[in-house]
């Protein structure tokens, strides 16, 4: 994923530039005057032009046009220059109206006859200004909303581009993953087929040689022969275990609700051959229903339970307890506890490694793949597996799994 980071940065930068450019374009569109000198100047000039026009009309005997002309001046000022200049325009045009158009003319006093006319003008100016101001405010907020939407739209477009690119990257990586999976599969296939054949020949011809020449060989040579055979068999087992382990990683998981209690009883019953003649006190508690691949989970249980059986070989009675620990909300935690050989917690992290063993093979047989397989299965289910133990005091293995959605509160007994 590191590869995609510079791309994201680049996209982010181009998004910012695009948005800034858009905002600049809209600022030019609003046509507002920014400098205060110009704003107040606009006010004075527009009132002066209004008065000039009104006087010109009056000179040519057009009467009573001064009110709309001055109102227009006020409206324009409000619109382009804002509230302060608008107030100035009202004051100036009122003064101009009073001086040029209200009796007595060319004086700032108003006769009682023209007073209503003057007041009407003043009110008219105020109304026009306030309407303009309100309209301006509404337009402003509309424009702001539009700007906001445009910016958001542009950002979304960029984000969509980014998502599309990431998606393409993901598709590419999925294809790569599939290719490497295929490669792994063909690798496992050739291991399965090609590695086993020569091994079979080693075993076969050693057997034939033993049969043919056994009477001619001394004890030492016979022991060598025996060692060749045993080692070949061991190698066969290791190859099989490794293949099984790799198959677990490649196989698709078919998840359903799995009744763990039923499954554990089945596993214990199937281990009958290993447990016959042994004194084992089984204690199987109520286990919940979980969500997972039944055959894979069976492999986990077989590994854990047969380990418990194996490592309690020297105990009479051996005690093996399987139960449910308090898991987290959506998880079930199952434990398998024994009173067997146990292990040193110092090496706990080695327990789950492939072909890692904590006991010598003369003490306890096995290749060391069981717990690695169990861990891989549990991890593929999104769970965790861990172990606790002490030398000669037994071991406890815990694993967690997601609860079955429809059986979260049921115990195994309820749905049997």
């Amino acid at each position: 994923m590191n590869k995609s980071l510079p791309m994201t940065d680049h996209l982010q930068a181009s998004t910012d530039i695009g948005v800034r450019r858009t905002l600049a374009r809209w600022d030019g569109e609003s046509q507002r005057i920014r400098s205060p000198v110009l704003r107040y100047g606009f006010s004075v000039v527009s009132v002066a032009i209004g008065l000039g026009l009104a006087l010109t009309f009056q000179y040519y005997q057009f009467r009573d046009v001064e009110v709309p002309i001055l109102a227009l001046s006020i409206a324009l000022t409000t619109w382009y220059a804002g509230v302060g200049p608008a107030a100035l325009a009202i004051v100036l045009s009122t003064a101009g109206f009073d001086y040029f158009f209200a009796e007595p003319i060319y004086s700032f006093s108003v006769s009682s006859k023209d007073l209503p006319y003057f007041l009407v003008f003043l009110a008219w100016g105020l109304i026009v200004a306030s309407f303009s101001a309100v309209r301006r405010r509404i337009e402003d907020s509309l424009r702001q909303a539009r700007d906001h939407l445009q910016v958001e739209l542009e950002q979304r477009k960029h984000r969509e581009d980014e998502i599309r690119k990431l998606n393409q990257e993901l598709v590419r990586q999925a294809a790569e993953l599939e290719a490497s999976n295929k490669e792994l599969e063909s690798f496992a296939y050739s291991v399965s087929h090609d590695l086993r054949a020569p091994l079979r020949h080693v075993v076969g011809y050693s057997e034939l040689l033993q049969k043919q020449a056994s009477s001619l060989l001394d004890d030492k040579s016979r022991r060598y022969m025996q060692t060749i055979l045993e080692s070949s068999k061991r190698m066969g087992n290791l190859i099989d275990d490794l293949l099984g382990f790799s198959r677990i990683g490649r196989a698709e998981t078919k998840k359903t609700a799995v009744n763990l209690e039923q499954l554990i009883r089945q596993v214990v019953a199937e281990l009958g051959q290993e447990t016959s003649g042994r004194d084992i006190a089984w204690k199987i508690g109520a286990l919940p229903v979980c969500y997972g691949d039944r055959s894979m989970l069976k492999v986990v249980l077989v590994n854990l339970v047969s380990n418990a059986v194996k490592f309690t070989r020297m105990r009479a009675p051996a005690e093996i307890e399987i139960g449910c620990a308090d898991g987290k909300e959506n998880q079930v935690e199952v434990f398998v506890r024994d009173n067997g050989a146990g292990f040193d917690m110092q090496y706990a992290n080695k327990l789950f490694g492939v072909f890692q063993r904590l006991h010598r093979s003369e003490e306890f047989e096995g290749t060391g793949i069981g717990l690695a397989t169990a861990q891989r299965i549990i991890h593929r289910h999104g769970g965790k597996i861990r172990a606790e133990g002490a030398v000669d005091q037994g071991a406890t293995f815990y694993f967690s799994l997601p609860k079955a959605y429809d059986g979260s509160e049921k115990t195994a007994g309820n749905i049997r």
Binding site: A188, Y189, S192, H193, D194, R196, A197, L199, R200, H201, V203, G204, Y205, S206, E207, L208, S232, K233, G236, R247
Partner: protein, 151 residues
């Protein structure tokens, strides 16, 4: 002793041939074994062509087929046999090193009669070959048109 059917073995590895023959000899089943060393040779035998032009025109009682073969592999041979009316009744036993699920599924889909993974342990191997030989060449009644002679 019952009559003995002819076994057609398709196996490219001479060591496997020798080990299998040893196992069959141990139980006097090796007299009627024809060994072909790849898929093409096996088909030549079945169709009586190439070096087998002069053989009598009848089918083996059983075919022991390895999967990984030079030129034409075992699954292709099996497919060819099952799609030909003259050959499709021949009992075919896959005898292979592979216990990949993929191979088993494909073999059974193509109509194999048995699928046997060669055991690594020699005693088990001898046992498996013996049982196969006894069952298919002696006990089983092959389809009409197969070679079968009184030993």
């Amino acid at each position: 002793m019952n009559t003995l059917g002819r076994i057609l073995m398709v196996e490219d590895d001479p060591r496997d041939v020798e080990l299998t023959m040893t196992a069959l000899e141990e139980y006097n089943l090796a007299n009627e074994v024809v060994v072909t060393r790849d898929g093409k040779e096996a088909l030549d035998y079945l169709y009586c062509r190439g070096e087998f032009t002069s053989r009598s025109n009848d089918n083996p009682a059983v075919m022991l087929l390895d999967l990984k073969l030079p030129k034409i592999d075992g699954l292709e041979v099996l497919q060819q046999i099952r799609s030909d009316d003259r050959l499709k009744m021949i009992p075919v036993v896959v005898l292979t090193s592979s216990h990949e699920e993929k191979d088993m599924i494909r073999s059974y889909q193509l109509g194999v009669n048995a699928y046997v993974v060669k055991p690594v342990d020699f005693h088990e191997f001898v046992n498996a070959v013996k049982e196969l030989g006894v069952f298919w060449a002696v006990i089983n009644q092959p389809p009409p048109g197969s070679i079968k002679k009184v030993p």
